[in-house]
């Protein structure tokens, strides 16, 4: 087989984040078929270079092929490594929820505000590292919520302003309106805008709970500027990823965040004082139901696949 075709196949396989076995299978299949096609063209008296050119022309766009294969075999699919997807995608949301819980109860545990701040920064660092790692691995489905966690800090831009104005509900209302706009965008508009809408939804649904912290003194000017810079870069990355690799399974992941968001909206609109730990029932409903749902949704798909196997 000539270098042109070999390079073409290598180009397809390179950076194609699917199982090694599938990769080898695909390589063998393409190689075999190209060889047969080439033999036929050579028998017709066509020169080798011309034959290869025709084969590649018939094959079509290499990038499009790669992207379609990713849609089918890897990226965002729960069917490959479902267990891993289920567990790994639940962890960041669970940790994020624990963090929020810690913020609301740290004084009851005898901690100062620095403790949840340090843990929050560590979680942010961990999520950022995992997201970067996942990006290098073709951004599998389980890493999607990890990227979402890194966006949480973006919400602090709103907190910064709300801490000045003392109008704590304003960021929550803005987030909610943008959230609804995102849902509308996802279902009504084109694929390009779907990517944008999902990205917004993803960021905003995680950001809403942080509207609570408008009254805390944790918001420091320089820290926020740093976080905004990272948040915007991460937003851009996710937008590009969603645009090129959107799949229905992401919508399922996002469903978890929608439920999460509505639960927090419920808390925002309910008559309780967040830092005071009053109205335990609201807190319980707000935290435990989303946690249960977020963990059970990926497991539901895992179990459903196991049963159907």
């Amino acid at each position: 087989m000539g270098d042109g075709i070999k390079n073409f196949i290598e180009g397809i396989l390179k950076e194609l984040d699917i199982d090694d076995e599938k990769k080898k299978d695909l390589e063998k299949e393409l190689m075999e078929n190209f060889e047969e096609e080439k033999d036929e063209l050579l028998k017709m008296g066509i020169k080798e270079e011309e034959a290869e050119r025709r084969i590649l022309e018939r094959f079509g766009d290499q990038e499009k092929f790669k992207r379609r294969l990713l849609f089918i075999h890897g990226f965002g699919r729960f069917s490959d490594n479902s267990f891993k997807n289920g567990i790994f995608s639940s962890i960041p949301v669970f940790l994020g929820t624990l963090l929020i819980l810690l913020y609301s109860t740290f004084h009851l545990l005898g901690f100062t505000i620095e403790i949840p701040n340090i843990i929050s920064t560590l979680l942010f660092g961990l999520s950022l590292l995992i997201s970067i790692f996942a990006f290098s691995k073709g951004f599998p489905a389980w890493s999607f919520p990890w990227a979402g966690i890194t966006f949480v800090y973006l919400a602090q831009i709103f907190l910064f302003f709300s801490s000045i104005s003392k109008l704590y509900l304003i960021p929550a209302i803005i987030f909610s309106l943008l959230f609804l706009l995102s849902i509308y965008t996802i279902f009504k508009l084109s694929n390009f805008k779907k990517g944008l809408g999902l990205t917004l939804l993803f960021i905003l649904s995680l950001s809403i709970p942080f509207a609570f912290y408008g009254s805390d003194e944790m918001v420091l000017k320089y820290k926020i500027l740093f976080q905004i810079t990272i948040g915007l870069f991460a937003t851009l990355f996710t937008f590009l990823l969603l645009y090129f690799r959107l799949r229905l399974s992401y919508l399922l992941s996002v469903l978890g965040f929608i439920l999460y968001t509505f639960s927090y909206l419920y808390i925002i609109l309910s008559p309780h004082t967040f830092a005071g730990g009053e109205n335990i029932l609201y807190l319980f409903l707000g935290y435990s139901i989303p946690i249960l749902l977020l963990i059970s949704i990926p497991f539901y798909f895992f179990l459903r696949e196991r049963v159907s196997d």
Binding site: E32, N33, E36, F59, L69
Partner: protein, 122 residues
Amino acid sequence: MERYFRELKRGSTKMIILSLLERKEMYGYQISKEVRKISGDYFRVPEGALYTALHSLEKEEYIEGRWEERDGRQRKYYFITKRGRNLLKKAKKEWELFIDRLSPFLKPGEILSKKFSFEKLF
């Protein structure tokens, strides 16, 4: 307009593949040749699109790929599964219904003949 017809053809790729595999098992390149031959070159599916359609059908268990050696060559042959046959059966019915319901729009005379066919009343 060109794009419209291209998309219409692209939408038929999976149904064409299943129809061919219902007749006999085939490998990728063979399917590509058969499609061109049977359609008189009307359907020219780029091979990249053909392989992705095959892999997608395989993933959804409508077809099954097996490596076999025939005529001295190792090839991945695709077989239609029971699930695939059921899908094809439904797709054929849907297609017939589609044609049936579309043709009166394309041939307006047929609407008139159906509307005013008094003979059919007796």
